[in-house]
């Protein structure tokens, strides 16, 4: 392998026969290029889909209510449905084992003021688990805790941008905010990956909100994280069961989607998973097709090259070349060309992908297309092995032709 003289022979043969070297190199480079682009684009698609769901926990479930659209048990349609602590407790008691995180949500919009600065912000009244469901990252202070709820404390956790709006660079933790005329103490500041809007929200204890604003036990939504030990099918079934139970409990027609529905990430995940599965199946099909085409291409070219060189091999053998040295020469040349060409195709492919970058994100849902080095290296190895086999078989045959037959070839 590291016989310098043999490499010299190979370089000379490649160099003096540029056309045929370029030809075989081009086949490989092109196959790898297509392969790279293909995988890159699919990974871009997959990035887009992953991104769409990264904000909330993957296992989240929302129970939402609105108005009935179907009369049921003598009740008119058009009735507004209201969730209360009772449903919340029912869900958490009944399905405790299937639930990892649980929280209620009450949506409010308040004018929040600090000294002479004020703004309207969305305020959510929640339970402590909300932090995990929304993937809220508290970077100063703490999130809401059980004691806040028990004491109905007037504490508030604000987003990074609320803090910037009202305090600028000055410290905010421990300061008191005027929320619609009532004073809340800032106990935490958080950041969130979900974008700007997610960082302009303030969180207060659900119990505090129920006491101060209406003095009732109403809640707007129930937000759950199902037990991650459930598989997708079990999770979907759980969501459906929850939906049925709650409709029954609130005297809602079993098919009234508008009155009460459970939005289950498991279903979305399942769909996305299926979609990605199909996509990858197609890619593997097309990708291996490309590779096989490349392999067949190299094989054909190698057969052609070796045929063309049969006479040369005959001469070399007459001069004392062993068959093994001829085989080694051809195979090494083949590997060298496939490796260099594969690398070129790969570089060109990744370069094109980097040019594409995020420019196709809006129109084609392709975000940050790229290929993992493992896949590409794997593909190149496949091609090298193909080059090896493609070179080996015909070279072996040619090397064992009687020299006299090889010499008379033309």
């Amino acid at each position: 392998m590291f016989d310098l003289d043999r490499w010299r022979e190979i370089f000379q043969s490649i160099n003096k026969n540029k056309l045929r070297s370029a030809l075989s190199g081009f086949t490989v480079a092109f196959a790898i290029l297509l392969f790279t682009l293909l995988f890159g684009i699919v990974s871009g698609l997959s990035n887009t889909f992953k991104d769409a769901f990264v904000d909330d926990a993957q296992n989240s479930m929302f129970v939402r209510v609105w108005r009935t659209t179907k009369p049921f048990k003598g009740l008119q349609k058009g009735r507004a449905i209201q969730l209360t602590n009772e449903e919340y407790n029912y869900v958490t008691d009944e399905y405790g084992k299937k639930i990892q995180f649980k929280t209620a949500r009450i949506y409010k919009n308040f004018n929040i003021k600090y000294r002479n600065k004020a703004n309207n912000y969305n305020v959510r009244a929640v339970h402590p688990d909300h932090q995990y469901l929304e993937k809220t990252k508290v970077y100063e202070g703490r999130y809401l805790i059980g004691r806040d709820l028990k004491e109905k404390a007037k504490v508030i956790v604000i987003g990074r941008l609320i803090k910037e709006d009202l305090f600028g660079e000055r410290p905010a933790l421990g300061k008191r905010l005027n929320v619609n005329g009532i004073s809340y103490k800032i106990v935490g500041i958080y950041s969130d990956d979900g974008g700007d809007n997610e960082e302009r929200i303030a969180y207060i204890p659900v119990t505090t909100a129920q006491m101060i604003y209406g003095n009732n036990d109403h809640i707007s939504q129930i937000f759950l994280g199902y037990n991650p030990n459930l598989n997708l099918d079990q999770a979907v079934a759980f969501g459906n069961q929850l939906e049925r139970d709650l409709r029954k409990k609130l005297d809602i027609h079993p098919d009234d989607q508008s009155a009460l529905s459970v939005r289950n990430m498991a279903e979305a995940n399942k769909n996305v998973g299926q979609f990605m599965g199909i996509l990858y199946a197609i890619v593997i099909l097309v990708g291996s097709g490309t590779l096989i085409a490349g392999i067949i291409g190299i094989s054909n070219i190698m057969i052609f090259i070796i045929k063309e060189r049969t006479k040369e091999f005959g001469i070399r053998k007459a001069l004392g070349a062993k068959p093994s040295s001829i085989v080694a020469m051809v195979v090494q040349e083949s590997i060298l060309i496939t490796t260099i060409a594969g690398y070129l195709g790969l570089s060109l492919g990744t370069y094109i992908l980097s040019l594409i970058g995020d420019s196709l994100e809006d129109d084609y849902f392709i975000k940050d297309p790229s290929v993992s080095p493992t896949i590409v290296v794997g593909a190149t190895i496949v091609l090298i092995i193909a080059g090896l086999i493609a070179g080996y078989l015909p070279a072996k045959k040619a090397a064992n032709i009687k020299p006299i037959v090889a010499l008379s070839a033309d």
């Binding site: 000379q12 001469i315 062993k322 068959p323 009687k402 010499l407």
Partner: protein
Amino acid sequence: MIKIENLHKSYPIGKDSLHVLKGLDLHIKEGEFVSIMGSSGSGKSTLLNIVGLLDTHDEGKYYLNGQLIKDLNEKKAAILRNKFLGFVFQSFNLISYKTALENVALPLYYKGMGRKERLKIALEYLEKVGLKDWAEHLPNELSGGQKQRVAIARALVTKPKVVLADEPTGALDSTTTDSVMDLLKEINDEGMTVFVITHEEEVAAQTKRIVRLRDGVIISDKLTQQAKAV
């Protein structure tokens, strides 16, 4: 050096087979300069190729340098060729993308000699055939006579025991034929066994022994004036 007993060779042609060599006996001693003559198709090349281990025989015995040639695989044949034999072909058979010097050096590469040394030796042999100034030229930049001299230098570079030449002057005019024959005589004078096929009586007359072949059998085997002159 070369000893052949009752040598037979047939080529399969479809279902039939063509019996080309029909029981040859031939003994060539070291240092001889032998020519083979005979009409086209009489089996001259077939004989030379068997002697040169480029082809195999069907029946009979062939000893090269005292070694019985039997069931050789390509690898062993390659080693023997490299060690004992040098070839000169009618159509030169130079490698087109290699310079004259590299062509001459190639057998030494297969001997396992280092690059520097083999290029040095190759250059000496090119000088010997009068082509030192053409060392860096590619074959297609050389005349027929020059190509054949390069081929002879290549055949000699490993100092083989036997040089086999199949119509080495067949593609050359009379002047270049003479220069090639002078070279062959010279190396024979140095003690190498030379075995040539030729159609030309004048060429054969310059060797020391003429073997005539007809339809696969030897019909005459005589020493020439040259041999008697020595």
